[in-house]
C-alpha cells in the first residue's frame, strides 16, 4: 500500500485526536520495565527514520501525475524512483520494503504509465484473493482521481464465467494468484492470446511467502509463464516485492531464474520502535512451570488499551484469538449499548465481516484487534501503536512483519514478544541476542526437486509442445520427456514432444504440496455429504485414521471411516472432550551420502591416537563423497571408527501409524488408546544425520537405555533449532532416531522413556540388538525432499552448539518440553536424566567442551514429576490449526 497516497484518507489528525505524544509510549515502556523487569529478557530500540524523496520522472504521463497530485502526492520516495529507473533500464527488480512504505507505487507508477501511453498489459500476482481485491480497489481509486481509464480486474476462482471473457480481452491489468495462473490461465493460454501479446509487466507481490514447497512450485509456474510469453513473442519485465527477508535478491533470482536487481533501502519515513522480549514468570520453581503466555498478553494489551493506545494482538491459533478477544472484551466491552472497542479478525470469518473490521481499523474506530497471521500480509489497516505477539510466530521475518503493524510515521511504537512454553519461544527469549541480532531468515526454494519438476514439465508439455533442444528453466527436460513418453503422456514427432494424454495435468498438481492425491474430509452428519476439508496425502495417515478427532475451526468431528484408496474420510460431528494424537514409528534407511564430515569429539581425544589423531582440539572435516566413490581407504575408515559422523544424503523412510492416544482438554490426561491399521507410508527424501560408533557410546554411557534417552533428547533439541535456522514449518522438517539401516527406530513412549521398535513395530530391548548405533535424523518431510537438509548440513556445527545451549540453559532440572521434549512419568527407580544424556550426546557430536562441562549434570535419580508430565503432554499438539 502506498502510504503517501493515503495521506488524505488517514489524516495524521487521528493521532492527535487522542492527545497522545511520544512521551507516553516511552512512559508505557518505562512502566512495563519497572514493574516487570524480571520478565523482560531483551530490549531493542530502533531510531526513527526521515523520509528521503525523489522527484517524479520527467517523462511520466501527465494525467497520472495529476491523479497522484489529487491523492496528495507530489514527489516520490527514493525506492519508488529507483524502481522506475531500473525497470526502464530493462532490469527485473525486487523491492524490499516494510509495510506501508509506498511499495505498490514502485510498480503501479511504471505499469499505469505504460498502460496509458503504450497500451501495455500487466499481470499482478498476490498470494491471496483478499490482497488482489485490495490492489484493484487501490488502482481504481487512482483511476477515479485522474480519470485514467485503466481497466484492472481480479481473476480468481470466484470470477463468473461470463466475466472471465471480459477480463481476458479487455483487462489492462489482471490481478490474480499463482494457483489461477497455474490451473486456469496457462493451460488455456490461447484464450489469453490478446493479453499475452501485449504483456509487458509481471508484478509478484509478497514473494517472501513463496518459499519451501509452495515457492518451489511457484518458481516452476514462472518458468511456464516465461515459456508461454516467449511463444507470443514477449519477454515481460518482472517486478517483485517482498517483506524483509535475509536474501531478497537470491530468492528473487531463484524464483525468476535470472539476475534481479534488489532495492532494499526504504525511503519512507518511520517512527521509532521499542521491542521487548517477555518471558512469563515462573509460577512453580520446582517444576519449572511458567505462567501462560495468554495471561501475559492480556495484561500487556490491557495496560496499552487503558493508556489509550491502538493495539494489535497476534495469536498463533484461531482458538487463541477467540480466547484473548473474550478476555479483553470482558474488560472493555461490557456495555452492550456502546460500539465494540475490541474486534477479532481471523480466517474463517466472512469476507464482509473482515472488510468491516479493516475499515474500522483504518478509521481508528476500534481500540484493539486480536488476530492471526491473517493480518500479517499486506492488508491495509492503517497503523497502530502497540503490537503484542502471543507466542513466537516461528520466524524472525514473520515477527518483524507482525511488529511492523505497529508504528506510525511520527510516533514511537511498541512491540512485545511474549514467549509461550514452546521450545522455539523459550529459545528466543532466552537468547535475545539471537533474535535481536539475527538477520531475517533466508527464504529457500528447491525448484528442481524432481517430483515438482516432473509435475511442471508435464503441465508445460500440455501448454506447448517441447521442441528438440528446448530448455526448461536451466534444465534439459529430455530425460523427463522420455519418462513421460514411456507413460504414454507425450509423443515425440518431428522433433517435438506433443501432449497426447486424455487429461488436464494442472488439476492434478496442487501448488501448496508436493504429493497429489489429497484426501477429502466428508461430513456425513444427519445424512449430509458435505466436503469440509481437504488433507494432503502426507498428513492423512496422522490425522484421518478411524477414530481420530478432526477439527475445523475448533469444532470437533470424528472420523468414522477412512477410504484409503478412494482418498476420502467420512466424519460426523461430535461433542467429545478429548482430542487425538497418533503414535507413529518412522524408520529411515540411508541410501546415499552426498556429503559427510567426521567429528572427533573432545572428551574422547585420548581414544583417537595414531596418525589420524588431530592436533587441534576438534577436527571437523568435510569430505565430498560421491556415489561412485564410497568412503573407503584407511584414513576414512579409521576416523569413522572413532568419530561421530554428520552427513546428508538420500534416505528411504517407512512410517507406520500404530495407534492413537485420546487426550482430554485442559487436564491433558491420556484417557484412552485406539489401534490404527493403515498401510505403511514410504518415501524417498533427503536428510541429514548424526551417528556415533558403538564403542564410543559404550564408553560414554552406562547403559544403552541412557544413550537412547540422550539421542531422543538431542534429536528434539536439534529439531527445534533446525526449524528456527531453516525458516521451515515444523511439519516440513521431520526428526527421527533409529539405526541407519532402517532395522529399528526409537520414540519416547507414553511413560516418557525411550522405546525401540523393530520393523513390525514390536518393542525391542536395546541390549538385544547386536549392532547398537543410534542415529539422529532430520529429514525433509516430503517425497523427494524440499531442500532443507543441504543448507542445514552446512550449518551442522551451529546446530549442535545451539542445541546444546538450548538444553544447557534451560531452567528445568531433568528436561522439559522447552529443551529435550516432554519427560513423562517414569518408573520410580529409573535413572532418568534426559537433559544430561542429551548434552552428552551433543558433546560427542561436537558441541564445545565448555558447554558440556558447564551443563553436564550428573546422573541422579529424581522422583517422577506428574504435574510437569501433564503440562508436557499438551504441548506437542497445537489445539487449533495455525493459519
Amino acid at each position: 500500500m502506498a502510504a503517501p497516497a493515503r495521506i488524505p484518507v488517514h489524516p495524521v489528525v487521528a493521532d492527535e485526536g487522542f492527545g497522545l505524544d511520544e512521551a507516553r509510549v516511552e512512559r508505557l515502556v518505562e512502566r512495563l520495565k519497572s514493574r516487570y523487569c524480571d520478565r523482560i529478557t531483551g530490549e531493542l530500540s530502533i531510531a526513527p527514520r526521515e523520509a528521503r524523496h525523489a522527484p517524479f520522472p520527467p517523462e511520466l504521463d501527465p494525467s497520472l501525475r495529476v491523479a497522484l497530485a489529487r491523492r496528495g502526492l507530489t514527489q516520490l520516495y527514493t525506492p519508488q524512483r529507483e524502481a522506475w529507473d531500473r525497470i526502464h533500464d530493462g532490469e527485473d527488480i525486487v523491492v524490499v520494503t516494510p509495510t506501508a512504505s509506498g511499495k505498490t507505487l514502485c510498480y503501479n507508477l511504471t505499469v499505469l504509465d505504460a498502460v496509458r501511453c503504450g497500451g501495455a498489459k500487466a499481470l499482478y500476482l498476490f498470494p491471496t484473493k483478499a490482497l488482489a481485491q485490495d490492489q484493484v480497489a487501490e488502482i481504481n481509486e487512482l483511476n477515479r482521481a485522474g480519470e485514467l481509464g485503466v481497466r484492472a480486474y481480479t481473476f480468481d476462482g470466484d470470477s463468473p464465467g461470463d466475466a472471465r471473457k471480459a477480463v481476458r480481452t479487455r483487462g489492462d491489468i489482471v490481478v490474480s494468484n499463482p494457483d489461477m495462473l497455474h490451473q486456469a490461465i496457462l493451460p488455456h493460454h490461447t484464450k489469453w492470446a490478446q493479453f499475452f501479446e501485449s504483456l509487458r509487466y509481471v508484478v509478484i507481490d509478497e514473494v517472501h511467502s513463496y518459499r519451501g514447497v509452495f515457492g518451489s512450485h511457484v518458481a516452476n509456474v514462472i518458468r511456464r509463464l516465461k515459456r508461454v510469453c516467449a511463444f507470443y513473442g514477449v519477454a515481460p519485465r518482472f517486478v517483485l516485492c517482498s517483506a524483509t527477508i535475509g536474501n531478497p535478491r537470491e530468492h528473487a533470482e531463484a524464483l525468476l531464474g535470472c539476475p534481479v536487481h534488489a532495492i532494499t533501502e526504504s525511503g519512507a519515513p518511520s517512527g521509532g520502535k521499542h521491542l521487548l522480549l517477555w518471558n512469563p514468570p515462573v509460577v512453580n520453581a520446582d517444576l519449572g512451570i511458567r505462567a501462560s503466555a495468554r495471561s501475559q498478553s492480556t495484561r500487556i494489551a490491557r495496560m496499552a488499551i487503558k493508556a489509550g493506545f491502538k493495539t494489535i494482538v497476534f495469536a498463533q491459533a484461531r482458538l487463541m484469538v477467540e480466547i484473548l478477544t473474550k478476555y479483553l472484551k470482558d474488560v472493555f466491552d461490557h456495555d452492550p449499548r456502546k460500539p465494540a472497542r475490541i474486534h477479532a479478525y481471523r480466517g474463517g470469518y466472512l469476507p464482509q465481516e473482515r472488510r468491516a473490521t479493516e475499515r474500522a481499523l483504518r478509521a481508528g474506530e476500534i481500540d484493539a484487534v486480536v488476530t492471526t497471521s491473517a493480518l500479517e500480509l499486506g492488508v491495509d489497516i492503517g497503523s497502530l501503536d502497540v503490537c503484542v505477539l502471543n507466542g513466537y510466530p516461528g520466524s524472525v521475518s514473520g515477527t518483524w512483519q507482525r511488529l511492523g503493524r505497529a508504528g506510525r510515521r511520527k510516533r514511537t511504537a511498541l512491540g512485545v514478544l511474549v514467549a509461550s512454553s514452546d521450545p522455539l519461544d523459550q529459545y528466543i527469549v532466552r537468547h535475545p541476542e539471537f533474535f535481536l541480532g539475527a538477520s531475517p531468515e533466508c527464504a529457500r526454494i528447491a525448484p528442481d526437486q524432481l517430483l515438482i519438476l516432473l509435475d511442471h514439465i508435464r503441465c508445460a508439455a500440455f501448454e506447448l509442445p517441447f521442441r528438440a533442444g528446448e530448455r526448461y528453466g536451466a534444465i534439459d527436460p529430455r530425460e523427463f520427456l522420455s519418462f513421460l513418453a514411456e507413460q504414454g503422456v507425450v509423443h515425440e514427432d518431428a522433433g517435438q514432444w506433443h501432449w497426447i494424454a486424455d487429461s488436464y495435468p494442472a488439476n492434478a498438481v496442487s501448488l501448496r504440496s508436493v504429493a497429489d492425491g489429497n484426501f477429502l474430509v466428508i461430513d456425513r452428519t444427519d445424512g449430509r455429504q458435505d466436503v469440509i476439508a481437504e488433507v494432503d496425502y502426507s498428513g492423512a495417515a496422522m490425522t484421518l485414521y478411524e477414530g481420530a478427532i478432526y477439527m475445523v475451526q475448533s469444532k470437533p468431528w470424528q472420523v468414522e471411516k477412512l477410504d484409503w484408496v478412494g482418498r476420502k474420510a467420512f466424519v460426523t460431528r461430535t461433542t467429545v472432550d478429548y482430542y487425538t494424537d497418533a503414535i507413529d514409528y518412522t524408520r529411515l534407511k540411508i541410501l546415499e551420502r552426498f556429503d559427510r564430515s567426521v567429528v572427533v569429539p573432545e572428551p574422547l581425544e585420548h581414544v583417537v591416537g595414531g596418525a589420524s589423531a588431530p592436533t587441534a582440539p576438534r577436527n571437523i572435516e568435510a569430505t565430498r563423497v560421491g556415489a561412485e566413490a564410497p568412503p573407503t581407504g584407511t584414513s576414512a575408515d579409521s576416523v569413522h571408527s572413532v568419530a561421530a559422523e554428520c552427513a546428508h544424503g538420500e534416505v528411504h523412510l517407512v512410517r507406520r501409524v500404530t495407534g492413537y492416544k485420546k487426550i482430554r482438554y485442559y487436564t491433558h490426561e491420556n484417557v484412552g488408546y485406539g489401534p490404527i491399521t493403515l498401510p505403511d507410508q514410504e518415501m524417498h527424501t533427503s536428510a541429514l544425520w548424526w551417528r556415533l560408533p558403538q564403542h564410543v557410546l559404550e564408553a560414554a554411557f552406562a547403559t544403552r537405555w541412557q544413550a537412547l534417552d540422550g539421542f531422543l533428547g538431542a534429536a528434539y533439541a536439534l529439531h527445534t533449532v533446525a526449524v528456527l535456522r531453516a525458516m521451515a514449518e515444523p511439519r516440513d522438517l521431520g526428526k527421527s532416531v533409529g539405526s541407519g539401516d532402517g532395522d529399528w527406530s526409537a520414540v519416547v513412549d507414553a511413560h516418557g522413556r525411550g522405546s525401540m521398535r523393530d520393523a513390525n513395530a514390536r518393542e525391542l530391548l536395546p541390549d538385544t540388538v547386536r549392532q547398537f548405533e543410534p542415529t539422529v535424523f532430520l529429514y525433509d518431510n516430503h517425497p523427494g525432499g524440499t531442500g532443507f537438509s543441504a543448507p542445514l548440513f552446512a550449518e551442522r556445527e551451529t546446530l549442535v552448539h545451539e542445541a546444546a545451549a538450548l538444553i544447557g540453559e534451560c531452567a528445568c532440572r531433568h528436561g522439559c518440553p522447552s529443551c529435550v521434549g516432554p519427560i513423562l512419568q517414569g518408573d520410580e527407580d529409573a535413572h532418568h536424566d534426559a537433559r544430561g544424556a542429551a548434552l552428552r550426546v551433543l558433546a560427542l557430536f561436537g558441541s564445545t567442551r565448555r558447554a558440556a562441562l558447564e551443563h553436564d549434570i550428573p546422573y541422579v535419580m529424581r522422583p517422577p514429576i506428574a504435574a510437569l508430565a501433564r503440562e508436557a503432554a499438551a504441548l506437542p499438539e497445537r489445539i487449533a490449526a495455525p493459519e
Partner: protein, 430 residues
C-alpha cells in the same frame, strides 16, 4: 533415459501417493472406470485380432500431407438402419422392425427419415433467435480429451454438407501430431464464407477447441464468428424432462430410430489415436471414423427432426410447454399456440402455458376455461389465477372470495392467500 533417473522418478511417483502410470493424469477417473475401459479395450483388441488382416489395419482415404488424411464419403451412414416413414406430425405407430441385433417394440415413438433434410436446410430453424441463411455445415470433432485446454488435440474433424438429396462428408484425420498445421490449412479451404455451422454441443466444446488449435499455429480460424446452430440446446429444451439424458446417441435412438451397430464409444477415441501413434494400427481408428461420420449424419437428421418436434411437440412426446416458451420468446406466437393446443389433452404444463398466453393476449375467458379443470384437480396456481380473473376482470367478488377461501385451505401458511381473502372480505363488507 538414464536408469537411475527413471528408477528415482518411479519411486517418487509411487511414494507421493499417485496411482501408477499416467492414471494420475486422468480427471476424476475411478478404478472402476479404468477397469471398464481396459475390458473394452481388450474386447476391441480381440475383434481386431480376429480380423487381423492388413486391410483392417490400414486407414481409408488419401494422405494429403504428411500425417494428414482425408476421407470423403457420400450417402447413408454406415452400420445403421433407419426405421419409420415420414411422420408429418401424425402419431402413426411404426412397424416393428429388426435393427442390427436388436429389436424395437411397436410402442416406440415416431421417427424421422433423412429425406426431410434437404428441403429444410436453407431455412432458419424456429428455435433460433438469430436469423441466418446459408449452406449448413455439419461439424463434429474427435479429440484426445474432454477437459479442454491447449493440450487437447483435435485429431479428427468431420464436416458434412447437403448436396442435392445426399450428404457429403469430409473427415480430416491426423496420423501424426506434426500434421496439424497442414490439416488446418486444408480445412480452411473447405469452409464457405456464408456457412452456418450445425453441431451438437459445439458452442461449448468443439468450436473453442478448434479456436485454440488455430491460435497455437497462428492461423486464422475459419469457423470464428460463423452463425452456429447448436442442436443440444433445442434438444435439451424439448426432451430434458422426458429422457434420462440428452446425449446425441439418446436423441438418435429415441427420436431418429437409429441404433448404432458395433459403434466404438466416443470415450475410446483417445485410445484409438494413441494406438495409431504407437503401433500404426488403424483398426480402432477406422471405427472412430465410422463413429464420427455417423455423428455427422445424425446431425443432419436431427435438425430436420427437431423442426418437426418444434412444429408439433406433442406428437413426439416432447415438452410442449418448454417448446412453446421458446417460440413465444422468438415472437412465434402462432406456432406456440398450435404446439400447445395439440398437447392440451395430455400435458398439464401445456394447458398452464396456453392459459398464460391467453391471459397475456387479453383473452381472459379462454384463460379461465383452461384453468378451470386444473383448479378442480387442486392446482394452486390455477385457483389463484382464477381468483385474480374473478376479482379484477369480472369483478365477481363472491366467486373470488370462494376461490380465495380455497386457496387458504390449500396453502394455509402462505400469507399472500390470507391477504387476498382479507381484502376480498373487506371489499364485500363495504
Amino acid at each position: 533415459m538414464s536408469e537411475a533417473l527413471r528408477a528415482r522418478l518411479s519411486a517418487l511417483v509411487r511414494d507421493s501417493g499417485r496411482a501408477p502410470g499416467h492414471a494420475a493424469d486422468a480427471v476424476a477417473e475411478t478404478a472402476g472406470e479404468w477397469s471398464a475401459r481396459i475390458d473394452a479395450l481388450r474386447d476391441a483388441q480381440r475383434i481386431r485380432e480376429s480380423r487381423s488382416r492388413a486391410a483392417e489395419r490400414a486407414l481409408p482415404g488419401e494422405e494429403i500431407a504428411p500425417g494428414v488424411r482425408v476421407v470423403r464419403s457420400v450417402g447413408a451412414a454406415p452400420h445403421t438402419t433407419v426405421r419409420g416413414s415420414s411422420v408429418g406430425g401424425a402419431r402413426a405407430p411404426t412397424a416393428q422392425r429388426s435393427i442390427g441385433a436388436r429389436s424395437v417394440g411397436a410402442s416406440a415413438p415416431p421417427t424421422v427419415t433423412p429425406e426431410g433434410v434437404a428441403p429444410h436446410s436453407p431455412r432458419c430453424p424456429v428455435w433460433e433467435r438469430e436469423r441466418a441463411e446459408g449452406p449448413l455445415l455439419f461439424l463434429d470433432t474427435e479429440t484426445t480429451g474432454l477437459s479442454g485446454g491447449t493440450g487437447t488435440l483435435v485429431f479428427m474433424l468431420g464436416l458434412a454438407r447437403v448436396v442435392g438429396d445426399r450428404l457429403e462428408a469430409e473427415q480430416w484425420l491426423l496420423t501424426r501430431p506434426s500434421g496439424e498445421p497442414a490439416m488446418l490449412a486444408a480445412l480452411a479451404e473447405r469452409v464457405p464464407g456464408d456457412a452456418i455451422l450445425v453441431s451438437y454441443n459445439g458452442k461449448a466444446f468443439d468450436i473453442p477447441l478448434i479456436a485454440a488449435r488455430h491460435a497455437l499455429h497462428r492461423r486464422r480460424d475459419p469457423f470464428a464468428g460463423k452463425p452456429h446452430f447448436d442442436l443440444l440446446a433445442p434438444t435439451r429444451r424439448a426432451f430434458e424432462t422426458r429422457w434420462p439424458d440428452c446425449r446425441l446417441q439418446t436423441a438418435e435412438r429415441r427420436l431418429l430410430g437409429i441404433e448404432r451397430v458395433d459403434d466404438l464409444p466416443g470415450a475410446f477415441a483417445p485410445a484409438a489415436f494413441t494406438t495409431l501413434l504407437r503401433t500404426g494400427d488403424g483398426a480402432l481408428m477406422r471405427r472412430v471414423l465410422d463413429h464420427n461420420r455417423q455423428d455427422l449424419h445424425s446431425l443432419a437428421y436431427l435438425i430436420a427432426a427437431l423442426e418437426r418436434v418444434y412444429a408439433d411437440p406433442h406428437a413426439f412426446d416432447a415438452d410442449a410447454a418448454a417448446v412453446a416458451r421458446r417460440l413465444i420468446a422468438n415472437d412465434r406466437h402462432g406456432e406456440a399456440e398450435h404446439a400447445l393446443e395439440a398437447a392440451l389433452p395430455s400435458q398439464r404444463d401445456a394447458r398452464r402455458e396456453l392459459a398464460r398466453l391467453r391471459r397475456r393476449q387479453g383473452r381472459h375467458g379462454d384463460a379461465a376455461a383452461l384453468w378451470r379443470p386444473l383448479a378442480e384437480s387442486g392446482c394452486v396456481r390455477a385457483v389463484e389465477s382464477l381468483a385474480k380473473i374473478e376479482e379484477h376482470v369480472y369483478r365477481n367478488l363472491a366467486a373470488a372470495q370462494a376461490l380465495a377461501q380455497r386457496l387458504v385451505a390449500l396453502e394455509p401458511a402462505e400469507p399472500r392467500h390470507a391477504h387476498r381473502l382479507a381484502r376480498l372480505e373487506r371489499r364485500a363488507a363495504r
